[in-house]
């Protein structure tokens, strides 16, 4: 399988590549349009700040390319948020692939939402082999509200979108590459889509 990780200097690119290696899969890192278009599957990682990440994508013309992709696509953490319409983080316009907002946590609880939390209402082949309330690792201060595209949710303290699916675009707010065996299973499931 020709698997490409979108390389735009996101912090967790290496971690995602290592997680795939542990599954015995070699992925290509690339920001090249032709290479990404030719991939069987695309993984889109991301950590850090939304506006900075959008600037990196624009500098590589990836903001034009990514919305046109038709193969199975998996956005991770900030990579999920970037697929949405607009973020409260730095009042940033995003890739606008999934018509959803990204909001800041408005809660008495600690922000960032950091650590292991449960995913539930699992509604996708992405979660084959997982149980309701399995634990995954989160670290984020912004979230996507529940919507018709939500395929899993987590409570902090209100429920938010743990994962999304819109056409060929899958996405997770948590870090499957850092979520132990449950995370590995999710990556494996994406590869099997």
């Amino acid at each position: 399988m020709n698997l490409v990780i979108v390389d735009y200097k996101a912090g967790n690119v290496q971690s995602v590549q290592f997680a795939l290696e542990r599954l015995g899969v070699q992925a290509t890192l690339s920001a090249d349009a032709e290479t990404i278009k030719a991939a069987d599957k695309v993984i889109f990682p991301g950590v850090g700040q939304a506006a900075a990440a959008m600037a990196q994508l624009k500098a590589r013309n990836l903001d034009k390319l990514l919305p046109t992709l038709e193969q199975p696509f998996f956005g991770v953490c900030l990579g999920m948020q970037l697929l949405c319409q607009h973020s409260e983080e730095g009042d940033t316009d995003l890739l606008n692939i999934i018509p959803l907002p990204v909001k800041h946590f408005d809660t008495e609880l600690k922000v960032p939402h950091m650590g292991w939390n449960e995913i539930e209402q699992l509604q996708s082949p992405l979660f084959a082999g997982l149980q309701e309330k399995d634990y995954v690792y989160y670290v984020h201060s912004y979230y996507v509200p529940l919507s018709q595209y939500t395929i899993a949710q987590t409570y902090y303290p209100a429920p938010f979108s743990a994962a999304l699916q819109y056409k060929n675009f899958y996405a997770a707010q948590f870090h499957p590459e850092k979520s132990g065996p449950a995370g590995s299973q999710i990556l494996k499931n994406f590869l099997a889509l």
Binding site: V47, V111, Y135, K178
Partner: protein, 254 residues
């Protein structure tokens, strides 16, 4: 529900694990990658690696070690020790670290915290605070491996670094570190109450009750220990079963 994190800490010198007792008397506790894998299997929620190497040569070894750890473990880890610039952090994150912790360099140059948060996001910037109580001074911040007293009161410094963009506080009580008499519940509680970001309690863990107290009494979000875990005086699955029994949310393998 978000669970409380249990975090083993590994001190690294020249690519090997060591453990400082009261910041002195260093003992060797093994191969970092092997130990990291073992902890991940045991159910550790995160790991912290502190580089205590002083040489440039050692720093290069540490960056390679970070890459080796990232290759082999599937839980998050934080690295710290001697980080003083955006370039230092870039190397560590690119090698697969999830978070970095800064300590003395933040005291020397508080703007560094804002710079790191701006470049990489608050979520990967942990500020480590070494604190010590004396009757004359109250809880003060110490720097340079706890050898030099600063002008900062602990709660004030914690609030300041969070304003600058720290995403997490790792609070070590020097009075408690190495004593196995329990975490410093008073200052940990004060800091946890004063800041909006997660706080890791560190220094003094000696029993399962101490962890329960850190969570129930001091409202810490995570608790860190080193020798207690390294020498297998306490095993993480046993600790987590105990905490769960006490009504504390922890991640237990299903």
């Amino acid at each position: 529900m978000l669970t409380k994190r249990i975090i083993p800490c590994l001190d690294i010198k020249n690519g090997r694990c060591v453990k400082g007792v009261q910041f002195e008397n260093i003992r060797d506790a093994g191969d970092p990658v092997e130990l990291a894998k073992w902890y991940a299997r045991q159910g550790a929620d995160e790991l912290v690696f502190l580089d205590i190497t002083a040489t440039n040569e050692g720093r290069k070894t540490f960056a390679e070690l970070v890459r080796d750890i990232a290759r082999h473990i599937d839980i998050p880890f934080t690295v710290g020790g001697g980080i003083s610039s955006v370039a230092d952090v870039e190397v560590l994150l690119q090698n697969g670290a999830d978070k970095v912790s800064v300590n003395s360099s933040a005291i020397k140059n508080p703007a560094l915290v804002a710079e790191l948060a701006g470049h990489f996001g608050s979520q990967c910037v942990t500020v480590a605070i070494d604190t010590k109580y004396t009757q004359e001074t109250g809880w003060k911040v110490y720097t340079r491996a706890g050898t030099i007293e600063t002008a900062y009161k602990t709660v004030d410094w914690a609030k300041q670094v969070v304003e600058l963009g720290a995403g997490e506080i790792l609070l070590t009580s020097m009075n408690n570190d190495g004593t196995k008499a329990g975490f410093a519940l008073d200052i940990t509680g004060e800091v946890a109450k004063a800041v909006s970001v997660p706080v890791i309690a560190s220094g003094g863990a000696g029993s399962m009750e101490h962890f329960a107290d850190a969570f129930h009494v001091a409202h810490a979000d995570a608790a860190l220990a080193a020798s207690l875990f390294h020498f297998r005086e306490l095993e993480i699955p046993v600790l987590k079963a105990y905490l769960q029994d006490k009504g504390i949310a922890v991640r237990v393998n299903k």
